[in-house]
Symmetry: D2
Subunit: 396 residues, 4 copies
């Protein structure tokens, strides 16, 4: 009887009832006029979430990984060089994808817990006087370590080196939860998905593509059919899809955008910061450490937390699930066994976060962690109650 507990994995996120209902729709004809009327505004409104006026939103029925594949295959050719920094599981997986597509991947190895190494990017780009590097790939929010990278900084580094490479950004676990500025940061391709900040079911990759990236498409030779931008854009232009569209997700997306705009994107970001900060206060109260190396790197959507020496983070997350029916993120890759993660993105409230903190405290106590019951909860409570929006406070 635990189906009402929230999940604290960093996606897929808790789905609000309103969005579950929005996706609960009977089949309609995707070739009929009313589909066009539904879909076109969804694409248009999604641009606001990417903060772009010049970019093009393209979706595919797939996951974020499919989105990466689309980004790479539509703009690059076999043998092309790309520059990537590896500082977590997801940056690692993107590297792997590039390599398997026959790209020449120049990897900057960074410690897990660090973010995009702006200076080293700048050096590498400056050194590439022949402009062999065709794209710089950056993970905005490394879900494995709870690290947010400085995309504006990466863009500055590229500009400083006057480098024409494309800037591709994985914002799967940041978009619609943390500030993202496609146009200001001059991002060329941003890749996200339906199951994180959009609070929907998994199943739709959501990309935004700059005019520059669209131009690159014309000469790109990597094969792509299912993920072909041109096929999709051509079909979208007449209101359709090159194959059967994921209708339920599109209706869900329409409602998700409404929810985000009703709350206000800035309020959405502020809420994520507050919830994240509450978690960080709890971590501090427990005497534990975040994997993220410094406050400027702290992610507002997921916190990766080292367990104390001598403890196994896998045992902790397994116990929290078995004993209390609550899912937390396990440690991935290098962090396996060493850290657990608390996802705090999407449809979430102070109250839900506190229930997660209370649960993991119990689980830690059960496994003899040196953690005082209620300590993390109290720290988060104190922060939550004092940081409430003035408006809400006045209403009290």
């Amino acid at each position: 009887m635990s189906d009402q507990n929230p999940v604290f994995i960093p996606g897929p996120t808790n789905i609000p009832d309103r969005l579950l209902s929005a996706m609960h729709v009977q089949t309609r004809d995707h070739r009929a006029p009313d589909f066009v009327e539904t879909f076109a505004p969804v694409l248009e409104d999604t641009k606001k979430v990417f903060a772009t006026t010049t970019g093009k939103v393209i979706t595919f029925p797939s996951s974020g990984t499919g989105g990466w594949e689309a980004a790479v295959t539509n703009t690059l050719s076999p043998g092309d060089k790309v520059l990537v920094a590896r500082y977590g599981m997801f940056s690692h997986r993107w590297i792997d994808l590039c390599q398997r597509h026959g790209l020449d991947v120049q990897i900057i190895e960074c410690p897990w817990g660090s973010g995009a190494p702006v200076d080293r990017f700048e050096s590498a780009l400056a050194a590439d006087t022949g402009h062999e590097i065709k794209a710089v790939l950056v993970t905005h929010n490394e879900t494995a370590t709870g690290v947010k990278s400085d995309i504006a900084g990466v863009r500055s580094a590229m500009n400083a080196a006057s480098h024409p490479a494309l800037l591709m950004v994985d914002c799967v676990s940041s978009l619609a939860s943390m500030d993202f500025q496609m146009d200001t940061w001059q991002v060329d391709i941003a890749v996200s998905g339906s199951q994180k900040g959009f609070m929907l079911a998994t199943g739709m990759a959501i990309l935004c593509v700059s005019p520059k990236a669209l131009a690159a498409m014309e000469t790109a030779k990597l094969p792509r059919i299912f993920f072909d931008f041109r096929d999709m854009m051509k079909a979208n232009a007449s209101g359709g899809f090159p194959y059967t569209p994921p209708l339920q997700l599109i209706y869900g997306m329409r409602e998700s955008l409404k929810m985000l705009f009703e709350e206000g994107l800035d309020n959405v970001y502020a809420r994520h910061f507050r919830l994240a900060e509450g978690v960080r206060r709890a971590v501090d109260a427990w005497g534990l450490k975040l994997v993220a190396q410094s406050p400027d790197l702290y992610s507002d959507t997921v916190s990766a937390i080292y367990v104390p020496e001598g403890f196994d983070s896998n045992a902790l997350t397994a116990h929290a699930f078995d004993a209390y029916g609550v899912s937390f993120g396990i440690g991935l890759g290098e962090m396996n066994g060493k850290a657990f993660r608390i996802g705090h993105l999407g449809s979430l409230t102070d109250v839900m976060v506190l229930s997660g903190l209370a649960t993991i405290e119990m689980a830690m106590a059960d496994l003899d962690y040196p953690v005082k019951l209620g300590s993390g909860v109290a720290a988060a409570q104190e922060y939550f109650r004092t940081s409430r929006a003035p408006a809400a406070k006045a209403a009290a």
Copy 2:
């Protein structure tokens, strides 16, 4: 964005997704054979929850109040004397209903916070040598004060006085959450509803009627049509309803019974006790007092908690709702302003309860209650983690 927070009102309760889906059914023909096949087992299985083999389950599309009206009008005649103790809002409202139906209500006034006064019932019944008292009306779980009454004790009192009155019990907020023994306690009419322990939408009164009460029906002269037992039983016998049945609730009831039996009724009761006990530990840690006067009276479905002298419980519940989006029960009747209530019945987990405790702690802190943040949560955590079922513990 708080639609995922649980409610902590003592009903209607949080509806599990499984039951929301079970009630999400298209219209079917209630005069067709498959309705019969659905409805008859629901009535039969509901008897198990009342713990009866001889009673008859009767439902009406209405609320618990409608159930009371049905109980009274089907078995009594104008001017009949009934014996009731008043110790809370719901016992009070039942008295009012009887008086407005022209019954002669003999009231035993008791302090709020106490339960059914077994001894005084016995005296009153013993004094009624002419057996003018036709029914004894008892509220099993007084939702306004969080008090559980001793129905077995009332039955003993009746037997000690060799009194033939009917025993009618309001178990609206106890059935399917706390142990109820229709047959063992020789209850004649038990009245409940769909929106508490059954975890469904509001809209169905659920009664169980003994053969003795059915016999009384033959001479009862209070008018009833919509709530007529005979019309309903006659229609039910051929699989129907005397008017349009609440189909969605009946399908929901079928699934609710499945859930209860899957968990096991004894486990359901044990879970409610654990959750209630966790709340009580928190209350104690806060230095607050329950309205219920002694441990034997503690309800496992709702706790009414006095706020400290000088504080207004209405301000507290209003603030918890405005600031944190969480509903708690207000103080009702005599308790208005003096006590708030935490409902802990229906579909609820340790984790959900902790989120409620954490919330009310913040609200109390905001309003300068002398309560330490995290203190109640920690007390409940400690209890929850040490009282988990051995089986679950082994699995960890």
Copy 3:
């Protein structure tokens, strides 16, 4: 695998997906401010459907029968005389209800298939010089016979006799499907329900009460508690309910009203007329006869159709259900075995109606009725295609 077939019973009606979703809502606190904000506009908007500005809308968690009981018990006293015409099962059941409440029912017996006998009403009222008749009860749409009565005519008769009796109208199966004019017809109490024209689940009686009827309430002595207008109005005034409200139905009602207003009430009525007329064309093509005696009596929400001499209508409806999984209305009361009914109200389209006609044709053929396959369908098709709204035609 027939759960996608529509039902053709005269209520509960097919529930549009949009309304199923609107009722699929988690528990919220009915004592919290947002319930008030939801419920008050629902009551206000429902007045538009009754076409009243002076009436008061009152709802109860129950069925239409509960609504009748509320109408009678809130305005009359034991022994009061009421005038009713009996011309079908539902007018009969209302009479029975009055008698069981100890009213003195003056019955005008009419043949089934006829409607409210305006002239005989006038005579009876004129004869009642002492104004002993306190209320005239009329069934606007007799669901058993598919007969619509002339409420404006009844009002004229009352006025002609200068009779001060209350006019109570059962519009359960007509409201929100056929034109209803509370104010123009000076109806004092109109009784309807959630499961017909409002296309919702069963479970809410919906009444509209005139100021005159509210005044009568002050002296009415029939007992009522669950169905008490004053308790309900008092609670409603502060946004609440005297007991737990049927939250899901109230949210459903809000969406139902939106749907009705989006289509436009006049368009809703026109659609019902078209669908009904299509059915009548089919009946004519089959060589069968309606129970309703003349075109001015034809109901636009349900058609009762005589089977040919020597056939059993129960066998027909049973066969349609068993063989094709489609529910039609059985013949009720005097019509049992002699007539079957096609409900054509609520959420219904030309296309759905044609599927019902095609089905019953097959069932009739299977049972050797002298009916040509496709004949009724063709007659309805011809009517539907030529009577489409010009706007829709232009768009084609």
Copy 4:
């Protein structure tokens, strides 16, 4: 108000309420043990629908097109020769996909309306003595023309030529609706999707892969990452997914399989034949012709129907949608303007089919087709009523 009308497009199909509810599930942790317990049996049970014991079921969050891409990229290398016959839009699109992946496609051009040319396949394979052809690609059910191909025949041709090529079959619009025999026909890769016979939302490609195809995977050099069989199988083996799984569809799939097995696969196929045959009787009664050239080619899931000379099929489908709110399939590719399609697969009943036939009749009449109203309906009615299963008849 037409949201209750069925669709008659050949997929996505009408979703039964039961499956909509099964997909209406809150996020659960896909890395938690209960996901494993859900997913493994789904893969296992899906094998029964493919009629295989040796094949491996592999799913991807995508559409059927993604499934094709997976089939090709996991087993072939750039420059590999494949043999395909083109006889419709979907065989054409598969050819295009192969060419864009750099395969050497040997195309057998066939008239639209014909099926897989078994003899010409045999000749081509016999001629390929060097076994350069690595795969034969066949569309089992060509959705554009309503043509079913003889896969057993193709297998015989391959065997007759003793050719070792892989046999890949597109069964997107046939699986779970028409008989499919993976093992008996020695199919190496079968490609389907969630939104046709499985009656679910679009979003999951469902493949079945033979051991021989799995072996080919080891040497295949076409790049694939998102669609990589090995990544998926490895993750599946431990109960997981290489990326976020489409949880809702997996729960839907579990329920869909239950529904199919409850009805019995043979009964499902028989039902589809009956419904298709009813449509064909109507087409005949209208004096129209199917695109499919001969009865052995008739598809049981979709009928493509030529409009008479001088009429435009696009105007017909557009009118049916605009005037009656019903979607039919448009003519695709060569058939655009010349033929319309009636999809009759998935969750469908006699009654629903009749509503579609009645609708298109009206639309044809509106556009002055030489078609008699009711004629097609009557032909289908006659067939439906006489071909009902004896059991159902006996029950009548």
